[in-house]
């Protein structure tokens, strides 16, 4: 199954979240205004999709970007699409996935990657809570 079809399988959840409170979520994390992320998802065939998450001014933004040439973000979070789906479905904890070495976090702003991991973990916790 292509990576886009895999993404489609979680689209209803993501759309539901978008319609409900995604802006609230980003606003709940005011420090997120100084951070941004490129979320890169890949499948076993080597296909990739990427999303940019962050703020433009006061407006929270999530948009698809070119995974080979993404815009600047303070953090790049890369994982297998199956891992991401498991996290969104609440079957795998984001922190556990990182500790199992299933997620790679790259820092682009000079702070340690683990610093970003700790902060993004709290964000993912809240995200999963809202998706339930």
């Amino acid at each position: 199954m292509s990576i886009r079809l895999r993404l489609l399988s979680i689209l209803p959840k993501l759309m539901g979240l978008g319609l409900r409170r995604f802006n609230d979520l980003l606003r709940e994390f005011p420090e997120a205004k100084t951070r941004s992320a490129v979320l890169k998802l890949y499948d076993n065939a080597g296909n990739q999709v990427a999303f940019w998450l962050g703020f433009e001014g006061d407006k929270p933004v999530v948009r698809e970007v070119d995974p080979r040439n993404p815009p600047y973000a303070t953090t790049e979070i890369t994982m297998l699409i199956d891992v991401f789906i498991k996290i969104l479905k609440g079957k795998l904890d984001f922190r556990a996935a990182y500790l199992y070495d299933l997620i790679d976090i790259k820092s682009n702003d000079g702070l340690p990657s683990s610093y970003h991991f700790l902060l993004w973990s709290a964000f993912f916790d809240r995200l999963i809570e809202m998706l339930k």
């Binding site: 420090e31 904890d93 199992y100 340690p112 610093y115 902060l119």
Partner: protein
């Protein structure tokens, strides 16, 4: 802020018990204390503390440590990861965590007590390098011949990295045969002269299994801050 590294030549000697009780002893004296759990593979320090599991926050690109009491603050991975999850971090990721916890936490204590990983593994060397020339150390061992060999290796490394050893804790000394404990004590005393540290005996007692007993750590506290 003066870092105090609580380390040992082998695992299971009681570093976490010593770290927490030492931190509490100092805090009860009105000294501002920061406590860091740097044992990333077995981050258990928080289990001894009444830590409020609030969401982690940052201020000015620094993480805010968790308040434990009026004079004590804490930070460690154990608070933020699910219970029972294994840690499969490679050296790079582990070293990266050490950097975050040492340099990117807004520590405000007069002393930073660091509960270190056991033995002379590579992550310890990362810690020693970060603390070179500016830290004090407490080495925790039990009165056992193997412990002497292992702790001599750690003492040698601490000397090499210019970390001042203030005390060697002979932990649970009353659980061992009296004659053996005396022999080990005598050997440590000989090294104490060479390195200039104090040998501090901490007895095993049942209360330490379930609670902190800071008053047992008065002599150690005086050795590290004096």
């Amino acid at each position: 802020m003066i870092p105090i590294l609580v380390t040992s030549g082998k695992g299971g000697t009681g570093k976490t018990t010593v770290s927490v009780n030492l931190a509490m002893n100092l805090a009860e004296r009105g000294i501002k204390v920061s406590l860091l759990d740097a044992d990333l593979l077995a981050p258990n320090t928080h289990l001894f503390l009444d830590v409020n599991k609030e969401r982690l926050r940052e201020a000015g690109k620094m993480l805010i440590p968790l308040k434990v009491g009026e004079h004590l603050e804490f930070m460690g991975l154990g608070v933020f990861i699910p219970k029972g999850v294994g840690v499969a971090l490679n050296y790079e990721k582990t070293a990266d965590f050490i950097t975050t916890l040492l340099k990117f936490v807004k520590w405000s204590g007069d002393y930073l007590i660091i509960d270190a990983p056991p033995a002379a593994i590579d992550v310890n060397v990362k810690l020693f390098k970060e603390l070179r020339g500016r830290a004090r150390a407490v080495v925790v061992g039990e009165p056992h011949p193997f412990a002497i060999e292992d702790n001599l290796r750690i003492l040698d490394l601490l000397k090499f990295f210019d970390i001042e050893v203030r005390a060697l804790v002979l932990n649970k000394y009353n659980m061992y045969q009296e004659e053996l404990a005396k022999q080990v004590m005598a050997e440590y005393e000989a090294h104490a002269k060479k390195y200039g540290f104090r040998v501090v005996k901490i007895p095993w007692e049942p209360r330490l299994q379930t609670q902190t007993v800071p008053e047992l750590f008065d002599e150690l506290a005086e050795a590290v801050v004096g």
